[in-house]
Amino acid sequence: MFSKIPMTIRKRSVNNQLCITFFLLAFLFCCDTDYEDRFALTPPDSQQVSFIYPGIASIKFIQTTGTSSTYPAKNTHLKAVVTRLNSSATGPLIMSMNAYLKTPLTSENIGFTQIINVTQFSTVDTVTIDLGSSYSIPLKKELVQLEIVNAALAEDDQSKLRGNYTGIYTIEKDDEVLMQGLLSGVINYKGETSLEVSGVDAFSFVKGLVILIDDEVHMQYAVMDKGGAVVAPLVGVASMNEDVLVGKLHLSIPQYDSLKITVIKN
C-alpha cells in the first residue's frame, strides 16, 4: 500500500497503434497528390490544310506554333507533306503556294509566297518539306491558294506553257495606251491561267485557259473582279518566244478595247 514501487502495468501500445493508424490514413489520403499539375487536357492541335489532286499528289500543310499570348503567334513552323498518288510520276513536282492574310485573295493581302519543288519522288512516295519558321500567318484553307505548276507527268501530258510568270500589261483604246501596270501569276500544268492585274479598278484578274497549237498560243481568258465574277471575256492569240509570252487580247469593256500582256516565265 505504501510502497512507491509502481504496480506492474501491462503497457499497451495504444499510442503506437494510433500513430500507425494516423499515418496510414494520412498516406492513403495523400498518396495520389502530386506536386505537379497533371492536366491531361490536350492542347489544340496544329493547324492543317490539305489539297488533293487526284492522280497526281496530295499536299498537306502543317503549321505549329508555340504557346503565345498574342494572335497570331510570332513563332510558327510550317511544313508540307506531299504524297504522290501516281506511282509512275517520278519527275519533279513544282507547286506555287500563296498564303493570304484575308480575303480577297489579292496581292494586297498576301502573307507569303512559296515555291515548292519536290524532286525525291523517284525514291519515296511521301516527302516532308520544311518551309521554315518565318511566317506568322494563321493557316486557313480558304486563304491558301495552291497551283501545281509541274505535275511530274510526261511532258506531253502537261501544258508546255506552265510556269510562274511576271510581266507588264498595257490597256489600250483605239490604239492609245490608257494605262500600264504589273501582271503576275501562274499557268499551271493544265494550262489554267491565273494572272493578277494591279492598278486597274475595273478588274483584278485575268483567268482562263491557254492552249498551245502549233506554236500559236490560243487564249480563252476572262477578266474578273476581286470576288471572282467575270467582268468581260478576253479572246486572242499570243506567241511564246524564249519564255516570253506576248499577246494582245480583245477586251469587251466600253472604255477599253484591248489588253496587251508581256510576261516572262520565271
Binding site: M1, F2, S3, K4, P6, M7, I9, R12, V14, N15, L18, C19, F22, A26, F29, C30, T33, Y35, D37, R38, F39, A40, L41, P43, P44, D45, S46, Q47, Q63, T64, T65, G66, T67, S68, S69, T70, Y71, P72, A73, T76, P138, L139
Partner: protein, 675 residues
Amino acid sequence: MKFYITTLLLFMGVLAHAQQTFPVELPTYNVGSLTDIIIKAKVLSTNVYEYTIINTSAENSPSVTFTLRPNNLTDFRKNIKAKISVLLDNSPDKASMLAELEDGSSALDILYVRFVSSETAISSFDERPVAGHLYFGQSVSPALKKDEEIYIKRVIDFKLDSAELTKTAFSDDDSIRVRRKIEDIRKINGVDDDVKNSILTDIDIQDKLLRSFKNGGLPNAGIYSAFKTSVISAERKFVSAVTPPSEMISLQNFKISYDSTTLLTYQYNNTTYTFQSRKQIRELANADARKLLLGDFDIEQVTIEFNEGFIENIQVIVEQNGEVMQFENNYPIGFSSKRNFKMLYETYLFDRKSGRELPVTDVLVRYQQEHEVNRRDYSPANQKLVYTPENNPGKMVTLHKDITAQLFEVQVFSDFVGFDQNSPNGLIQLEFEKRLNIVTGRKKFPGTVRVSHVLFPYVTPFLLKSKFEENNKYLILNTKDQFINNQYYPIKYTSTLELKRFENFSTGFDIALYMVDFPSSKLTYTFFSGFRYGRVAIQDSIRVFEDDEIKNTGLVNEYGVNTFQIMPLKAQVQLLIDRTYSVNFSWSANLYFLRDNRFRQISNIASFADENGVGGDYKYVYQKISFGGTFKPNAERNSKLFFRYNYHWQQGYWRTGFHQAQVGYSFYLTDTLKK
C-alpha cells in the same frame, strides 16, 4: 431559404440547450395515521409544489389541490390542515382525525421532508445514468520524507542483519555482512563518534566470534550467548544514539529475530508475523514505521473537480489530533478508462507545507465503474464533488453521467470582414465540432513536478458551413489569354488563398499529437495534425475567339470544386486564465490541393498574370496564424463567446494573404441520454 434553415438549426440548438425537466411527479403518501387520506405532490418548478389531498373513504374520492410557491414547511402545515378539514367536513370523526395533525405531532413534518427529499433525489440523481461508484478510505498515512525513509531503512536493515547474525548456523556470508554493517555505521550522520566507536567495538566482538567459528571452533552455548549479547547491545546503542530527522517514537518496538528454524520473525504492537524474506519484513516494518512516526490521519474532506474525463483537481484534507494536512494533485489525473484507473496506483498527492506524499488510492480506494453497452468512457459528468465522512457514512459516492450528451459544439460566428459586402468571408458561419478524447492518462514530464504531457490526447472532427448569404458566393476565375497553334486556349486559374477564402463548406478532423501542460503558468502547448475536404463555388465567364479577337460572351459557367487540405503541423499555445477567460495563439503549415482539372491552382495571381507567368514552387503551401480568446459568461454552462483573428498567407509570397476577424457564440447541441 437558407436563412430559415439556419434559424431553425439555431432554434433547435437553443431548445436542446435549455432542456426542461419539470414537472416531476413524486411518490404518494398517507397523511400520518389517517390511512384514508392520501396526498400526492408534483414539482412544478424548483421549489414550487402542487399538492393534491384525496379522501379515499368518501364517495367519489373528493380531492383538493393547492400550490405552494415557494414550498415551505409552515405553509405546508397550514394548508394541509385547512384542506383536510374541508375534506372531512361530513365526517363524524373529524375532530379526532384533525387532532392527529396538531402542532405537537410530527406526522406532517415527516411528510414534508419525504416530499422534499424525493425531489432532491429525482432532480439530482435518478434521471441520470450511473457512471460508477467511488469508494473512499477512512484514514491515511502520508508517506515519509526522503530522509525519514532512509533512516527507517537503516534501522530495519540493522535489525534484520543483527537477527540473521544470531542464527545458530553461521554462513560464509555473515562475516561479509558484519563488515558491511561497519561501513554503514561509519556513514551514519548525526551519531556521536563515541557511540559509533562503541557500536563498532561490539561488532568487532561479533566479527572475532565469527572468525573463531570459521577457524574450526564449534559454537557452544557460552560463545553463542556472548555473541547474542553483543548484538543486542550494539543494536540498542545504535537505535538510541541515532537522532531521527523528525519527531521520533522509539523504534525499540520493532523486534526482528530468527526463530529456531529459517523463518524471520517480525513483531510489532504485540503482533507477530513470520516471513521468509527480508523484503516482506522491510515493507511491513516500513508501513508500521510510518504509522509510528505519523500515525493515521483521518480523511476529513475530499473535494474533486471532474472535468472532461479528468480529475482536474483533487484536494484531500486530513487531520490528526488537530494537525491538518492538505494534499493536492500536481497535474490532472485521467479518470475515464480502465487504464486510467490502474494508473491511479502510481499517482501521488502532495502536501504543500510538509512535502509529504500520499498515494491517491489511499483516498480513492476503488472506483467501481458501471458498464453499459457501447460505453467506453466511464468518467462521470463534469462536476465538483465534496465528500465528507459525516455525509457519506457508507464511504461511497455514486457518480453519474450527465443527463445530456454533448453531441456537438456549435459555433455560430460572423466575420467583421464579412460586413463589407465585397468580402467573401461570409456574414454568418456555422461550425459543428466534437472533441473526442483518445488517451486520457497523463504522465509527469521528466524532471518536473507539475508539468504533464500526453501523446494523442484527443481528436476533433468538425464541419463548417459558411456563406449563407447571396453576396460573393462564387469565386470568379481569372483568365490568362493564350494561343497554342494559333488557336485560343486560355488558362483559367486562381490562387490557393482565393480558394481557401471562398470555401463554403469544409469537413475533416484535427488530431492532437502531443500536449504539454504547465499548470503553474496555466499554459498548455499542443501540437496538431489534420486534414479536411472543402468545397468552393466557382464562376467562370465564357470567352470565345471570333474574327481574330477574344470576345466575352456574357455567359458564365457555375460549378463547384472539391479541395483537399493537409495540415502537417499546427502548434498552439493556450493560456487558461480562469474558467471564464482563455486566450490562445497558433501557427500552422497547410498543404492545399485543388481536386479539379478545369482550372489551375497557382501561388499568386499577380505574378502569374504577368508575362513570365510564375506559378510558384510552393503553390500548395500556405501558412496561417490565429489569435483567439474566449469568454464564458456563465462558468457553469458550456456556452461561450469567442473572438478569433486568422491570417493566411501564401508560402513564398509574404505580402499576400487575407484575414478573418470573427466574433461568435459557441454552445453545445445536447441530447437526452437513454436510460
